[in-house]
């Protein structure tokens, strides 16, 4: 029997607004002490009311547009109730009945379109750390704004799931709505996997693998689930609808205690927040602020950057933005590609990119022959040097002593000196007798005499003229 897998993904994206969704405390708690980014509203003191961050609405519009989604003119918030120490209010403020983002789609590299069912704004939960006999509660993350993106079950392989997760990550990063730091949980994926016999009219029972935070784990979890469910079905067993956890070390999913009764969240319209009714002008104005998306860059750079290089570089939105500001995209992208591909430190490098002027100057100097390709790379690397990086390209090149000698008069003098040197006599003779290879030795001598600053092709040209 052949089984067709069907996959749907829910993705939580932490928005990179300055403040939280419902209070004016710092939204970026990375590296901060526990409970240091907590307002009385987040702590849910009695009588506290949510203070909606308007920026989150604007971020949601951009995120929606990045996924080709409709933006719903009317939306509002709802409460989702559950008791847990990570939820101080005893409910999460979310958008259950009237989400802000409507239908849309995300395109995968192979051209498949994955439909978006909807996406909504909501607040994140706090964090628990477990010890032997007790747990500690840190509320820093409470009500960090999230958008939850719900896909249609349009994926049918682990690769689809991987590509979708990655495409979504790129879109959200390019839309500049998230820091996209997967390691710190900025994007978290819940993956629903079901199998159905080929040709079956209905989908099979699904299992949901929660809280995956890398594309690789999304892919592996789906692979594992397909295998697990296939085995069960082949044995004639039933798939239980349940939530499963992912163990990255073992590469397995495990069933979490399946609750007999489905949770009843008792959703209720949030009475403390007025409804959101956006004018088409407002939506349009925010939509216009959507920065260039990966597909825009692809269009822009096709022909200038090799397809496979472009595919690599697209993982770095800030870099693409920078490339778009530079004049010689081909050269600059090559430098980045070679640095990124060669160096492990790529991410670190990209935190602080050179200015467009530095890069343009570097291109210009290379084009003029003032820098050899090796010299140019050396200068390029120094752009990322904490001490030298901020200096002008020329200053760096001088400091590295890699500017090539292009003054032909000056060069001719050096060539004459080299030819006058008795140590080159034999070589001159050999060349004149037709030994072409010897020219390399002579050029080398010129380079040596010029302390490496001579432009080798100019040196060769002069040598040939003199020896003719």
């Amino acid at each position: 029997m052949k089984y067709i897998p069907t996959i749907g993904i829910e993705c939580h994206v932490q928005l990179s607004t300055k403040t939280k969704l419902f209070s004016e405390v710092d939204n970026d708690a990375r590296g901060k002490e526990p409970n240091s980014c907590v307002s009385p509203v987040d702590y849910a003191l009695p009588g506290m009311l949510p203070r909606l961050n308007g920026e989150a609405i604007k971020f949601a519009i951009r995120a929606g547009r990045a996924m080709n989604c409709e933006i719903n003119a009317s939306s509002r918030f709802d409460r989702k109730h559950y008791f847990y120490p990570d939820s101080p209010k005893g409910y999460q403020i979310t958008q259950f009945y009237h989400p802000i983002i409507g239908e849309g789609y995300v395109e995968l590299p192979d051209g498949k379109k994955i439909r978006i069912e909807h996406a909504h704004l909501e607040g994140d939960a706090g964090k628990l750390t477990h010890f032997d006999t007790y747990s500690l509660v840190d509320l820093n993350r409470v009500d960090t704004p999230l958008i939850e993106i719900v896909s249609m079950p349009d994926m049918h392989s682990a690769k689809d799931a991987h590509d979708y997760a990655k495409a979504l990550w790129r879109l959200m990063c390019y839309a500049e709505v998230t820091n996209g730091d997967l390691y710190n949980g900025n994007m978290r994926f819940d993956v629903n996997v079901s199998l159905a016999e080929e040709g079956a009219a209905e989908l099979g029972t699904r299992a949901e693998v929660k809280n995956l935070n890398s594309f690789k784990s999304v892919e592996r979890a789906v692979e594992y689930e397909i295998k697990r469910q296939t085995k069960l079905l082949e044995k004639g067993e039933k798939i239980i609808q349940e939530t499963r956890g992912w163990n990255d070390a073992t590469g397995e999913t495990t069933g979490q205690r399946s609750k007999e009764e489905a949770k009843d969240y008792r959703y209720m319209p949030e009475p403390d927040l007025p409804p959101i009714n956006l004018s088409s002008e407002f939506i349009e104005e925010e939509s216009k602020k959507l920065p260039l998306m990966p597909k825009d860059y692809k269009e822009k750079f096709t022909g200038k950057i090799a397809d496979d290089t472009l595919e690599v570089l697209l993982d770095y939105p800030a870099l693409m933005k920078k490339l778009a500001e530079t004049k010689d995209v081909k050269r600059v992208s090559n430098w980045f590609a070679s640095v990124l591909l060669a160096e492990e430190k790529s991410a670190e490098y990209l935190n602080d990119l050179p200015t467009a002027k530095q890069l343009d100057d570097l291109s210009e100097m290379t084009k003029k022959g003032e820098l050899s390709s090796t010299g140019a790379k050396e200068v390029f690397l120094k752009f990322f040097d904490p001490e030298m990086g901020k200096r002008e390209t020329k200053v760096i090149a001088k400091e590295l002593n890699v500017i090539q000698e292009n003054d032909l008069g000056e060069l001719e003098k050096i060539v004459d000196e080299v030819l006058a040197n008795p140590a080159t006599k034999q070589a001159q003779e050999d060349f004149k007798n037709g030994q072409e290879k010897v020219i390399g030795f002579l050029v080398g001598q010129v380079m040596k005499a010029s302390k490496g600053k001579a432009n080798p092709s100019s040196a060769q040209e002069i040598l040939r003229k003199k020896l003719a």
């Binding site: 009385p40 702590y43 849910a44 003191l45 009695p46 009588g47 506290m48 009311l49 949510p50 203070r51 909606l52 409460r79 109730h81 008791f83 120490p85 101080p88 209010k89 005893g90 409910y91 747990s135 509660v137 489905a262 009843d264 008792r266 959703y267 209720m268 319209p269 009475p271 403390d272 927040l273 007025p274």
Partner: protein, 461 residues
């Protein structure tokens, strides 16, 4: 209002108020007194006056705070066990505004725990007695505040009105009690009951005092996104030419004393040349059912935060996390709290949401429309606040439905969000206070107070 000046000192006003509060200790009006802070603040005000510095519009005026308003002074209990102990690190907006004008809080008044009730019998700290009779209830949930003003202990007191909790105790004790248009006064820092109907208001002895308090405490608050920019719309201020009475409220369940009080006022208005219009508002009879669906739903939600984890009481019996929740909540809430939370969870639970909660929110639309239509015909509506004067302590407390029926004439106003002022309307032969309420269209608050003043002046004359 008596304000501290060179003639009367703030200290003497506060001392007098504290003295009276102690004299009426048996009435169980206060959950706690704020003696030390109050006297210190009074002294500061007297010193300011002596130095010739500018003082606020409420300088040295003693007031009582319903104990569901957060204040940094003392404990905030909402008359519950589950907030024991809770010392608020912040002040509610109302407290901030009152204090910035120099008002001095002398004590925190008793209420039905979390404002769930119509008698102040559901308090963790015992029953508050009616100002006129020790056998009778004070009304509720703002019972303590109403009695504190009625017995002249303080010049004014704060209240919250979710379904009548200011107006009914005001009428049971013979003072003014105002529930403004929804959103007029910030709810920030007030223990939430039902967010979509909760209103902050006051008890006073005059409409002028009420007007001043409204002016001071109203306005948009960045901490409450459901606040209106102003206290009233000028366009809504007009002399009352037509006043409505609601036919549907004229039935045999209404006490004769109250019927007569209403008749007197109506006659008086007629004499003044005001046209009386009989209104048909047939949906109002469903308002109580609507109210006891929507409000418990919001109550269940708003009271989810009381869990023993971050503040207040945590059950010492709890052995694990599940028990921290279930034992703390079971021991910390009173029976009426539990009834409402469970009803709320019933109407919101899957399978019942559409039939109860959603249906009620639709019915609410019809109720609102009924008021809108009424106000096309009349400027104000005058009705009883409750079907009867103060009932006996213990009479209804174990029969929730009969207790809820107390609210039948007050809750439709909260559902529609319109303003309503309870006004004193004489006494029964036994000396029990009677009250009526005047209801206006949304944001007619100032006009309503003006109209009430006219009613009083003439009938007193």
């Amino acid at each position: 209002m008596r304000i501290a000046s060179k003639e009367i000192s703030a200290v003497s006003l506060v001392k007098e108020a504290l003295g009276k509060a102690k004299k009426y200790e048996d009435k169980n009006i206060f959950v706690s007194l704020n003696e030390e802070n109050a006297l210190r603040k009074a002294k500061e005000i007297d010193e300011k006056i002596a130095r010739g510095e500018k003082v606020g519009r409420l300088a040295g005026v003693p007031y009582a705070l319903k104990d569901n308003f957060l204040s940094k002074e003392g404990m905030t209990t909402a008359s519950s066990h589950i907030l024991e102990p809770f010392e608020s690190p912040i002040d509610s907006t109302t407290v901030k505004k009152l204090e910035s004008e120099g008002a001095i809080m002398i004590g925190r008044t008793n209420l039905d725990s979390f404002a769930h009730g119509s008698s102040t019998e559901n308090s963790y700290f015992g029953v508050t007695k009616n100002a006129r009779s020790d056998e009778r209830v004070a009304g509720g949930s703002s019972g303590g505040s109403a009695v504190a003003v009625a017995l002249d202990i303080v010049e004014f007191a704060t209240g919250t009105d979710t379904g009548g909790s200011i107006r009914q105790p005001a009428s049971f004790n013979g003072v003014y009690g105002f529930k403004p248009t929804y959103g007029t006064i910030s709810r920030y820092g007030v223990v939430a009951m039902a967010s979509s109907t909760d209103c902050i208001g006051f008890f006073t002895k005059s409409t002028e005092d009420m007007d001043l308090l409204m002016e001071i405490c109203s306005g948009q608050d960045e901490n409450d996104l459901t606040t209106l920019p102003d206290y009233y719309l000028d366009s809504k201020i007009k002399p009352a030419k037509k006043v409505g009475i609601i036919k549907d409220f004229d039935n045999d369940k209404v006490d004769e004393n109250i019927k007569n009080a209403l008749k007197e006022k109506v006659e008086f208005l007629k004499k003044k040349g005001v046209e009386i219009v009989e209104l048909n508002m047939p949906t109002l009879k469903y308002a109580l059912a609507v109210y006891y669906i929507i409000v418990p739903a919001e109550v269940a939600s708003n009271l989810s935060r009381y869990d023993g984890i971050r503040y207040g009481f945590r059950s010492s019996e709890a052995k694990d996390l599940d028990e921290i929740y279930s034992k703390t909540r079971n021991e910390g809430f009173m029976t009426e709290n539990k009834r409402r939370i469970m009803i709320g969870n019933f109407v919101l639970s899957s399978g019942f949401y559409d039939a109860y909660y959603l249906k009620a929110e639709k019915a609410r639309t019809k109720i609102i429309e009924e008021y809108e239509n009424a106000f096309k015909q009349v400027d104000f509506i005058i009705t009883p606040v409750s079907p009867n004067p103060a009932f006996k302590i213990g009479e209804k407390v174990n029969d929730p439905v009969s207790m809820y029926l107390e609210d039948v004439m007050s809750v439709p106003i909260n559902l529609a969000g319109v303003p309503s002022l309870a006004i004193p309307a004489g006494k029964t032969k036994e000396g029990l206070s009677l009250g009526l309420q005047i209801v206006g269209p949304r944001r007619s608050d100032k006009a309503l107070l003006k109209f009430a003043n006219e009613l009083k002046e003439e009938s007193d004359a």
